[in-house]
């Protein structure tokens, strides 16, 4: 197992947002989901750059939707986590759990 099998912090957040959103996952919903759950304002450019990287690694797949008038006639790009992506999330999650196990983070470090 190499370090590439793990997800970076923001990659992890984006993949989790895709999993939560299911077949409704595209730029706007992903950005809003992250903003709502983490309270962190992210740019659409950051989301796309991360999704592009995840797609290149084979963790995410994308497909184009139909153009809609409220988007100025532009299409949506829907994203979906691949089986390889789910594996990477699980590995990253287990690694984080293993690293935090036994640490009383709130009491010791606040």
């Amino acid at each position: 197992m190499t370090s590439r099998d793990y997800l970076g912090e923001f990659e992890h957040i984006v993949v989790l947002a895709l999993l939560r959103l299911g077949d409704r996952a595209y730029g706007v919903t992903v950005r809003q989901e992250i903003e709502m759950r983490t309270g962190r304002e992210v740019s659409i450019g950051a989301i796309y750059a991360t999704l592009d990287r995840l797609e290149a690694k084979g963790y995410v797949k994308s497909r184009m939707g139909d153009p809609t008038p409220e988007r100025g006639g532009r299409s949506k790009r829907f994203f979906q986590v691949s089986a390889k992506g789910v594996g990477a999330v699980n590995r990253t999650h287990r690694a984080l759990q293993s690293m935090t196990a036994g640490l009383d983070l709130v009491r010791s470090y606040s």
């Binding site: 706007v28 450019g45 750059a49 790009r77």
Partner: protein
């Protein structure tokens, strides 16, 4: 009904379109447009415009940063190659034009009339200027082809590399008796712009090629 007439700021949308990779530009601009419309309805057009500008600036900054951070060689490599090409290619138009003019005027040499001298100087000056602009356009296109998906970022970096030494010299006090923008600097800016235009032509062609199969 009124909010439907509100449109995102053109300059901000143009900037995002310019810097976004061809395969993401459509969906990225569509997403910004969709959120802009929602915000214009909920919070008013001026709030939505401010949001759009903030998102655009952050997006462009992120795309430029990512291009150099994630795949530095596909961005820096073409820029360095383009700079070398500029070094070799810049004297070519001058040499070609001088050669053509000398061939053309050989039969009257050495008895030039004043009108012939004027014509000679006109073609010499303007021919070299146009030749160099076309050379910059071609090199910009070559750099853009090599910098797949990062056409504008690579050509802008090259044009900055070309114009920066002149700007530094100007700010350091060179050409003291000339206007703020001496002809050397105007010339460098013109060539820099043509490099970016070359990059934009390649980007538009690439984007058109990407959309052709999906519409079929």
């Amino acid at each position: 009904m009124k909010s439907r007439e509100v449109r995102p700021p053109h300059v901000a949308a143009w900037l995002v379109d310019l810097f976004a990779p061809a395969d993401h530009a459509e969906s990225l601009l569509g997403d910004l447009s969709e959120e802009f419309s929602d915000l214009a309805l909920k919070s008013g057009p001026s709030f939505a415009r401010r949001w759009y500008w903030r998102q655009s600036v952050k997006t462009v900054t992120h795309l430029v940063g990512t291009a150099f951070r994630v795949s530095p060689w596909t961005t820096i490599g073409p820029v360095v190659a383009g700079y070398v090409l500029l070094g070799f290619g810049f004297s070519l138009p001058e040499r070609a034009i001088v050669m053509v003019l000398h061939l053309r005027h050989q039969h009257v040499n050495p008895y030039y009339t004043s009108s012939q001298i004027e014509a000679y100087l006109f073609w010499l000056n303007n021919g070299i200027l146009v030749g160099r602009l076309l050379m910059s356009l071609s090199i910009g296109s070559i750099v853009a082809v090599a910098a797949k998906g990062r056409e504008i970022i690579a050509t802008m970096a090259l044009s900055l590399l070309l114009v920066a030494p002149f700007l530094v010299l100007r700010l350091a006090g060179h050409w003291p008796n000339q206007p703020f923008l001496p002809s050397t600097l105007i010339f460098a800016i013109g060539n820099s712009l043509m490099i970016v235009v070359g990059g934009d032509i390649v980007r538009k062609n690439r984007s058109a090629a990407l959309h052709r199969p999906s519409s079929a």
